[in-house]
Structures are given as C-alpha cells and as structure tokens.
Amino acid sequence: MTSSNVSRRSLLRTAALGAGTMALGGGLSACGSGSPSSSADTLTYWDWYVTQAPWVDKEIELFEKAHSGVGVKKTTQQNAKYPDLVALANRSGNPPDVFMIPQVPSVAEQVAKGWLHPLDEWATPKWQSRFPEGTFLEGANVFDGKVYSAPLKGSGAQLQLYIHHGVFTSVGLTNPDGSVKIPRTWDEVTSAAQTITKKSGGKSYGFGFGNADGIGVLAWWLDLFVRGAGAPGGAPTAPGTGMDYRVGKWTFGTDRAYADFLELFVEWKKRGFFHPNSVSLSDEAARAFFERGKFGMTVGGVWNQPEWTQHKFTDYSLVTLPSPTATPKGYWYADPVGNGAFAAVSAKSKKAHEAFQWLDALTSPAAGRRWVQDLNGVSVYPEGNDPDGIDSKPFAAFVGMTEQVLRGPVPLVRNPELAGVAPSVPKPDISDVVAGVYTGQIKDVQGALSSLADKKFQLLSDAVAAVAKKGKKVSTSDYVFTDWDPTKPYTTKKA
C-alpha cells in the first residue's frame, strides 16, 4: 500500500464524514426553523442604545404583549461601527426589518439608495397629527412628499456641566444654608475649580474628562462654554452642526468667544485644575472617576445619568450654558432635522406592516413618556416632559432645562432642496484642534481656528456646488438668516 493510496482513502473518508455531518447539521437547523417561535413572526431590530437598553427591552415586552404572535429580536450594535454595519447589511440584501437610522450616510442618501420603506401607507395625516406641529419636514424625514421616519426624542439641552456635591461640600463650596454653591459663570467655574484643587489635598481635581475614545469630548467643552458667550453655533459635535446662521459660516476665527474660552481652558490646565490623565482616560472611566469624586466638575450629556442612577449615585447637580456674564447671550436651539429621523422600516422587509407597528409603538406618546421616566432624555411630546412626575432630582433638572432650548433657524424649511447637501468633515476637526491646544501641540490658536473655519466653509461650498450641478436651486446664502436674534425663538419662513 502506498502512502498516496492511504491519503486518498483518508481524504475520501473525511469528505464523506464531512458531508454527513453537514447533512445532519442541515437537518437539525431545519428542525429549528420549523419551531413555533419561528423567524416568520419575528421582526429584527437594530439600534446602538446601550444605557437606554432597559427602555427598549421594556418597549419590546409591551409590544409583544399587545401584538400576540409578533416578536422583536433586538440587536444592539457598537455605536462606532453602526453606519458600516447598516451599509453592509443593505449591500448584502439582508437588513433588519426596523433599524435606527445611522448618521452616515445622510438620510437623503439612504432614501436615494432605496434602503428605507416609505411609510405613507400607514403614516396617514391622522397618525401624523399626534406629533407636534412641524415634526414632518421635507429633507429631514420626508422626501418627495413621502414620510420615512418619525421622532422619538425632543430637543433638550445637549450638554451640561455636572457638579459633584460631595467634592464641593468637602472643600467648603457651600452657601450659608448648607446647599452646594453652583457655579454659573466662567469666573465662578474657575474659582470653584481652584478651590477644589487647592483644598482637597490632592484627592480631587477641579475638572476631568475622558478623551481616549476619539468621540470628540473636547468639542463638548467648547460647545458648552461658548454658546452662552454669544457664539450661537457653538462647536460642531456632529456633522452639519456648529454654524452661526446669522452669517451662514463657522465663526471660530472671527468670534472671540472661541479663542477666549480656549485661552481660559489652557490656563485651567496650567494651574493644575484638570485630572492629569484626562487625555488618555476613556469616557467610561472618566464617568466612574467623577462618580468617585476624583474631580468636581465634568462636561457631558444626559446619557451620563442612567448609569449613575443604576449605581445609586445621585448626589450631583447640573447647569447648562455657563457664560462670562450672568445672562447667556446664546442658547441651545431645537434640532428638528436631527431628531426627526429616529428609526425606519427597511425597504427589504417582508413584514413591513408589522415593522411599522413596531416603529409606531416606539414613537408613541406612551413610549415617549416612559423614555422620559427612565431618564433617557426628553420626549418629542411636550406633555411627556413634566419635571414634576420625575423622581430623580438631577434628571428633573435636565428636563427643566428644555426652557433653555429655543427654536432656531432651519435652512431646510426655507429651501428643502438643501437635503442633498452633505459637506465632508475635515480632519482635523474642532475636537482635534481643541486637543492640540490643550496638549500644547498647537501654539497659534487663532490661526488654527481661522483655518478650520475657512476649510469647513470651503467643504460646504463644494457640497452645495455638487448639488447645484444636479439642477437643484441651492446656494450657500440659503444658510444665512440675517434677521435672527439668537436670544429669541425664530420661525423659519418657507421660501
């Protein structure tokens, strides 16, 4: 017997064994798919909600009870990879029945690619009327007159300065009545940070953040502090944001609020007010450090609160728009575009009717109320945003902050043809620039800010030109609202 004979026989035997195993496996899997709880009645649903997962799970439970025989199989994807995963799922022709709409590509692009199912069959005028006026907006969640999505969230104060009561109390930052002395102006924030750093004996620092994840944490600081100083665009924390609509440009280089705050920010660092590992800490770790009192103040959004509440940490306050003066010169502005496109039914769904029922349940007033009560954020339905019905004091404070959110200009309302304009995001963007300034790698702060503002406007001009080339009537002047007073609500007039 030659070795080659043995090998051939072995190979054939192995192949036969493999084929048998595969057949058996196929049979077994066929058995599985034929079970009563088969995928035929199960909707697939994707999101990136981690801290909000208990709310989603509760909604699934309620939906399944109300729709017997229809199940929802949730998959929570990693936030950073979500756009890629949705794109891949659509390319492979196997997207989930319902999915949270990724930020990239733009909703207009997703509609153009045929990923989203128009909802008009079910989203009747009566159904639409349950939402606040102005919810359905051409270019945001309506394209060519067809509705594709509906909102869940309302517009809240996007960022807050969180204040650790224990740290403040331990260094004597209290009022005569024993309550914590809440800093509201730039000077008060500076003074509080100085007191904590000096008096805590090295146990605590004034400030801290976690920049390691590359999620743009440093842009949050700039955004929070410059708005109240009269820079209504703030800093772009997401694509398509950060513009000062009074001039239709990014004003990093021309509005002195930006350079002034960055100068103060660097000064805070030089004076040792920041936790020294802030640049390399992860955002998660920074959240835990704040909870443990390693620093007295941090900047973040309402998403911090569910985790702290789970850990029974509620000994903190929050303020928004700390300003150089007692009265802010700018505010937060409602974002009907960003909030209007929450989730969508896949164009490839074979259970589109059931899928819409799930989307309907997720965006219902009752689900919105539970969204607020579970401390996730504010609801699109104003009646759901009553601070009085909320047990958590910090969260009630956040809900109360919706008063600081004004209606602002919406270029899409004036010219829906802007829907296809999707300017590229430069690298480095503002968050990188702030990191460069903080670490001392950027010396010419004013130059870096001006250059970035010019670059962003150039990218917008290119994007507008690309859309204009397709025959749309668009111009960069569509972003200019000369009659807008940032301290008052604004109603955009349709063209």
């Binding site: 080659s4 950073a80 990239v104 994840d213 743009g216 968050s431």
Partner: protein, 331 residues
C-alpha cells in the same frame, strides 16, 4: 579550467537526475502532487486576501468613495495630491520610521544579549526563562494594549501620583496623553512585546555554531570577548540579516498597539501610517467624527507601499554592498 568548462559542468549534473525531473513539467507536478495540494489553500488565500486587494484597491485611488455602493465620483489623481499635501500623513510616516528605527536596534541588542545568557548550558531553569520571554509574543497586541492602557491611564492615576510624590517624575505624567511621552511608551511596549521572536531566532542561530570552534579558540588562548566578536558574530551574520529584515517589516506594520493604546493621539502625536489609513478608510471612532473615504485610504496605502519598496530596495543594496566589501576584504 576555462569558463566554458564551468558552464558545461553546471548544465550537466554529476549524477543523473530522478526520472520525474527528466520528464515534462506535468510529470514533475504529478510526482509532487500532495505538496501542491497542501500548498493550495495558502496560495488561494494569499491570492484572495493579499494579491487581489493590492490591485483592486489601486482602482479605488481614483475615486472619492465612502465605501457604500459603487465608487462613483472620479477624481483622477486628486487623492494622491491630497495625501501628499497632508501634514498628518507625513507625521504618520515620521512616527512609523521613528518606531522602526528605535525599536529594531534596541530590540536586537536586547534579544542577542538575552539569547547569549539563555544559551549558556550551565544556566538552570533556561527553559522556564525562554518561556517567560516568549509569552508576550503569543499574547495578542490588542490584549496587551488594553491591559497597559488600563494600567497607565484608567487605573494609573495612583501610580502616577506615587511616582510624582516620590520624586521619580517631575509631577504627574499622563504617559499616553502627553505628546512628549506617548510615542516613547508605545515603542517601549513594542520592544517588550516582540522581543521573544528575535530571542528565539538568535537562540536558533547560536545553536548552529559548532562547540568545537569555541573549544579550539579557547585552546588558542581566546577570551570570551574575542570569541564573541571572532566566532559568534560572524557565524550569526546570515541569521542576523534575516532577523533585521523581518524586524523592520514587522515594525513598519505597527497598528494594533497604537490603535488600542492611543488611537493615534493626542492630536496625531502617535499616528502611524497604518492607523492613518485605518482612520481614513473607516472614519473616526464615533462613526460620525470623520467620514470614511476608501479612495483616500487606498491612495495613502499605495504611496506607503511605494515608500516601503524604496526602503527595501535601499536595504538590499546596502546589504549587498556590505557583503561585497567583506568578500573583498577576506580575499
């Protein structure tokens, strides 16, 4: 002996070749068919995942494309122009070369020194120490990075404060967050992490040197230092060349350590070419911070490939020149 004689001798082997070799190519393939069967999976994977993407990605260099759908916007050579004018790219090239040119010499010296110690037949527990030094190699760089990131940043505030209080450092240092220390820390971890590879290569090389040479040298009155420079180093030359080439190739591919430890930050202070390409291809960590651009990433990959080919060619030329000089000196 004439030159013609030599050529003739080369063409006509002294002994008759095996029958299979005298037959055609097909017969030779059939004779070694199982070798080809075993080689086939690797060759197929190499073609699919290395050779094909190299050529396929070259086509993408002419498009602005976010990776979704088919590439549509033809931009000609604009992506190359943009990369060549991008200071962050050249910073990444600088960091990659700095990583390689610091890591390789330091690591080779350390590996050789350790190999000499571990090759000592009188050393007890040699196997244990070899294992200890090799363990980092078999540990994933991502795991190493996560653990060290936790130690230095997320849990490291106590250690940092302790070092500052005891006067070891001038104040609390944010090792991975300070642009002056971050790259040095990554290089140090890189040296430690892959030291075991070169240690094993050197050990293998040392074990091929006949003990008789050292005995003879000893009889001739050579000390350990002379033996090292006159026997060990010349005998390790061949394996040394392989080690240097492999070490440089490995260093130029640095990615996972940087991505996990710093993500290329702070403000690009540790960005290497592979993280730069990754960030272009897949966008920022938050998905929305920067949009993916496969065309730009492909152009950057292509330019980096050209740079490495140029470097490899220079390396080969330099090695040949050294080899010729040595041959001439020996004659």
């Amino acid at each position: 002996m004439s030159l013609l004689d030599t050529r003739e001798r080369r063409r006509t082997p002294a002994t008759a070749p095996p029958v299979a070799a005298r037959n055609g190519l097909w017969q030779r393939i059939r004779a070694a068919k199982w070798s080809y069967v075993y080689l086939a999976p690797m060759a197929v994977l190499l073609l699919a995942f290395v050779i094909y993407p190299i050529f396929a990605s070259f086509g993408y260099t002419f498009y602005r494309w976010n990776g979704i759908g088919s590439p549509g916007e033809y931009v000609g050579l604009d992506n190359f122009r943009q990369i060549l004018h991008d200071g962050i790219f050249w910073g990444a090239v600088k960091h990659t070369f700095l990583y390689a040119f610091v890591l390789v010499p330091v690591q080779l010296l350390l590996a050789l020194a350790l190999a000499l110690v571990l090759n000592n037949p009188k050393l007890k527990f040699a196997l244990f120490f070899r294992t200890v030094y090799f363990i980092p190699v078999v540990t994933s760089a991502a795991v190493v990075g996560v653990v060290i990131q936790l130690m230095l940043a997320n849990f490291g505030d106590s250690a940092g404060s302790l070092l500052a209080k005891t006067g070891v450092t001038n104040g609390h240092i944010d090792w991975l967050g300070d642009p002056n220390t971050a790259l040095a820390v990554i290089i140090a971890i890189g040296i430690w992490h892959t030291l075991g590879y070169n240690l094993v290569y050197f050990l293998a090389g040392l074990q091929t040197i006949p003990a008789e040479l050292y005995e003879a040298a000893k009889l001739d009155g050579c000390g350990p230092v002379q033996s090292f420079f006159r026997i060990t180093i010349p005998m390790l030359r061949q394996v040394g060349v392989v080690i240097v080439v492999l070490a440089f190739i490995g260093s130029f591919q640095v990615f996972d350590l940087v991505q996990v430890l710093t993500g290329g930050g702070p403000y690009f202070a540790t960005e290497v070419v592979n993280t730069y390409i990754y960030h272009l291809a897949f966008g920022g960590a938050a998905g929305a911070a920067a949009q993916p651009d496969i065309g730009l990433a492909s152009a950057a990959s292509f330019l980096y490939g050209l740079l490495l080919i140029l470097f490899s060619a220079l390396q080969v030329l330099a090695l040949r020149r050294i080899s010729r000089r040595r041959t001439a000196a020996n004659q």
